[in-house]
Subunit: 343 residues, 4 copies
């Protein structure tokens, strides 16, 4: 076993602190060397909480730091692309929260930078590391479902994000449905060849003002004839709703429906259970496991399993969904097959 890699965490917000907890509790897999955050208080407090010896407000310095082997990018979206390019230049292993960038051009440029530098780049599609999704994928690969025929993939947030977030989010498809585009590609095991989007703005004036949509059904066709539908909403009225149904010739798998507490209440009004309210509760394990997988790949000098190409392929589907919405008709994806080829 090689020496554990020295890691820098860039960004100590909500998701950054989740990753910090993982880094701090797996000293066998990493040396948690430095944290960076543009707010000095936040950086200092995070370092103190997790026993990290150094902190800085200068992310670029932390990335470039000679003693750092790997960086975890949990900073704001618009910093992902420049930080990946910087880390590539310095030969660091990179884990980045999704998205790499909000447009295809920047994404391509960043992927080239990483490829040319020969660094590993993992994208934070955490759902692939959720034990439920991972077990579903394994069952599909063992052939338990026979031939895949249909996937129905649902994602609803409990409530819409604030207007400030919406404005720079990239819209429903690049910000939210991108998780579904990744999971449908991954579970189906082939690239879609046709996409159609139908959507409305029902939830808030902010969303309408941003020319965005909040309620959407996307339909996808795959070369094998299998179909997928993706259902999104910015507001559920009841909590987080992430469920995926996978149908094959020999049966079906349903992922999701986790209860928050192992508790049921029986009253004259019925039997009530709670549900997980949001993504941090639902994907707690997944956020931990994706970092462990990344650290293990760095330590053992192996490939990561969720690549920059996966990030690009999901973004392409988001862009195509927007195009379908604009044109009011299905969009063929066949000519882009080459682009989807796994590197």
């Amino acid at each position: 076993m090689s020496t554990p890699p020295r890691v820098a965490l860039i960004g100590c917000g909500r998701i950054g602190r989740v990753h910090a907890r993982t880094l701090a509790s797996r000293r066998d897999l990493c040396e948690f060397a430095i944290v960076a955050d543009s707010f000095p208080d936040v950086a200092e407090h995070t370092a103190a909480s997790f026993g990290v010896p150094a902190w800085t407000v200068d992310a670029e310095e932390a990335i470039a730091n000679r003693s750092v082997d790997a960086v975890i990018l949990a900073s704001s979206t618009e910093t992902h692309a420049p930080y990946i390019e910087l880390a590539s230049r310095y030969g660091k292993s990179i884990f980045t929260e999704k998205p790499i960038a909000l447009d295809l051009e920047s994404t391509e440029r960043v992927l080239s930078a990483a490829a040319n530098a020969g660094v590993r780049l993992q994208v934070g599609f955490q759902r692939r590391f959720d034990p439920g999704y991972a077990a579903a994928k394994a069952a599909i690969e063992r052939g338990e479902l026979g031939t895949l025929e249909m996937i129905h993939d649902v994602m609803r947030d409990p409530a819409p994000p604030p207007a400030g977030y919406l404005a720079q989010s990239g819209g429903l498809y690049r910000d939210m449905a991108i998780h579904n585009f990744d999971s449908v590609r991954w579970l189906m095991g082939e690239e879609p060849c046709e996409i159609f989007a139908m959507a409305s703005a029902l939830v808030s004036d902010d969303i309408r003002a941003a020319n965005d949509v909040d309620t959407s059904v996307v339909t996808l066709r795959f070369p094998s004839g299998a179909l997928a539908s993706i259902e999104n909403s910015r507001r559920s009225g009841f909590g987080y709703d992430v469920r995926t149904e996978i149908f094959g010739s020999a049966g079906a798998l349903m992922v999701g429906e986790s209860r928050d507490l192992p508790l049921r209440r029986y009253t004259s009004a019925g039997v009530t259970e709670d549900h997980q309210y949001f993504f941090l509760e639902r994907f707690d394990d997944a956020y931990r496991l994706e970092i462990i997988a990344f650290l293990t790949a760095v330590r053992d000098d192996t490939q990561v399993t969720v690549t920059g190409q996966d990030g690009r392929a999901a973004l392409q589907l988001a862009v195509a969904a927007e195009e379908s919405l604009r044109q009011g008709r299905p969009i063929s994806l066949q000519t882009t097959e080459v682009l989807y080829a796994q590197s």
Copy 2:
């Protein structure tokens, strides 16, 4: 209370016998006067089993019979239209299994005949009488969901029907999805204005040979901006799959997921429950309650709640779904709004 109506049951096959059981056990609501089936053995056996005083192989005679007040049509699909026209001529109340007919022209002609004769005509969309669906509809009408935003309506048969049935079924949309078209219209409480269908033939050579599809996702847009998706398959790999998810601004309702037995098995391989295998188990109550509703309407001389217009509206959606499939693009339904107006 008026005298219970005298009823003729036309067709003693699988579903006919289900209706016979209801008629025989509700002598307070009807006098079960006669059964007709083209096979004399079947007619005689049914009459004997349910204590019906008369039977015949001549359905038209039973319909025309002066002492009969109401007819239940459970005969084969192609007989529905002529029998409804005949019963209309004789002024009988009519309950017919769906569909009225497989094409819009015949359907229009039959509806006109019934309307001109001033007879009541109920169509067997039994799902509306299922206690689960009925409770969902009542909750929506009480405003429990706030504003409706999305419906996802699923229907999978356990296994494809025989080739003979497929050939004359009218295809996936007119034969199977027609139940979903009805339930989505009914639950949403408005008529759709746009429809898009994506489908494949994955299940059998018979279906491909019939130029039919077996795996389909239909997306619908409603004037309010609400969306619906309808998922169909001729083969589930595990049993009957009828589930409907209804999302509003204030929460969601999920109808379906009935277990066949109140029994769970715990073994080292996990916790296993069964599921209802097919429609007769799933909709046992609904088939009973729709007949009771019809008999009550006849006895009390009131309107039925699932009308011939409902049958036509669902068929129009099926036809439009086929058109979308043929053209590979969404179809606008706006110009047909007048047609959908409830009579």
Copy 3:
């Protein structure tokens, strides 16, 4: 196939009408010849509702009626014993609601009368015919659980019965827990050898005034070393609660937990399902199937599967539970083994 038996229904109350519905809808298995009820209106109305040609207020006349082959006793508890004796004298097949009688002496006398007359006598432990319980019993017999080790059998009523009923009910053990005594004996496949009861009166002053209990745990030991516990309450606070957990060396079976509607509500307060409120909903199928089993046994001249001996054995356990409560210690049942031998 022999001629279907001619049947008299004695008692047209709540459960009597449930049986009437079964008799009316299975003319292939019986000729529903006459109904008796001490209230003439009730008898006449029941006859009219179910198409029964004759009715009477004189139960004894209906039982003695020469043309009647079988009687269904759904009259009040104190009439069961004299009517069984009368029906035995006239050689009729007998189905009786539980209990045969509230004391062991009368029960013995009645069983002797039926045995001497050579008539078949089925007791209404309907739970054995519930598809869930029947599937559990079949799984046990196939060896799916390995060696049986423990049963936990729960029965809670939604609310206590009226004081008038309580006074003549025979108390918690003879009236209510008797269903659990039967199901535990039946599922375990052996007779218990020791019993201990701990109980309180927590629910109502009526129950305390009647010197009865309403909240009870009974523990049973079986010769194999297997154990059972029976939990009873006259008031659940939420609805009917009938669940049975069966544990063996190779796994477990859980019977119960039926939802009334296939519907779940998702709101910000959680996910809510309803539950079946009382026994008529929970055991709707079982009440039908036990009558069908009885009619089939009469028609085919075979044995019934729930015998008078089963009624006696369950009553003996109720009496022993009361004795344990009185003495405050476990009671040995070993010396009564002979009594339990199936006839």
Copy 4:
């Protein structure tokens, strides 16, 4: 906020490593100063994995170490009592895995030592910190259930422990059911006044050889008249089975039934979910939360919520259950009320 306490972890086995993970990830609540294990490799490896600066094979040295404020005892059962006495002498805050000791005399002596030294002592009844149990307790205290009437508390291990463990375990009641004795006391909010145990040895020759039992039902009566039953087995045949049902005048709470994965499989054989196999999966959160509660109490200089008195009270019920088993009759606990008084 005061300085976080310096903590020594004594014992780095299965549960010790679970606690180590918590200590390592909450540097805001503690300084994880030293680990001790009698196997030097294990101690060294644990220290390295979790970034702990010091390790030792000498537990007593670690406990006595001047710079240590608090000790976590996760060493073998027979060391708990002497280590608690030692830590008391040195004035350390103490968290100990259950049991304090296997006999009442040692337990009393140890409690006195801690009381005389004025140190806080928390016992590892982790179930109280499980979010499901904690929510149930909170609901009871808010009065959601009305008056408590009955508790049914189940605990089955997936498979019996090895013979070596059994021999020194203290038997089913002191080793396993002690968790149920604690949770029933805690949830009911009063001390039981009568106990009766019925049990068998069905699972293994080892258990019979040790004169122990493996299948047990214990019934408890409380002064209010409420009842409880506790069901234990050393072997479930399917996995870990920890469920608690709490019934009151206004409804019920059911704790338990956690799935391991949010995944259901639908096949022609039914619908299958998995379940949590053993206690480390089921109580993962609880093990973390109990340590956090302990560290918080130390840091803030407040009382712990699960005290040594709780450890003694549960042990007394275990001893009384054994006595009931020996005598074959219920045992009154009324005279011991004083002993149960919370300190």
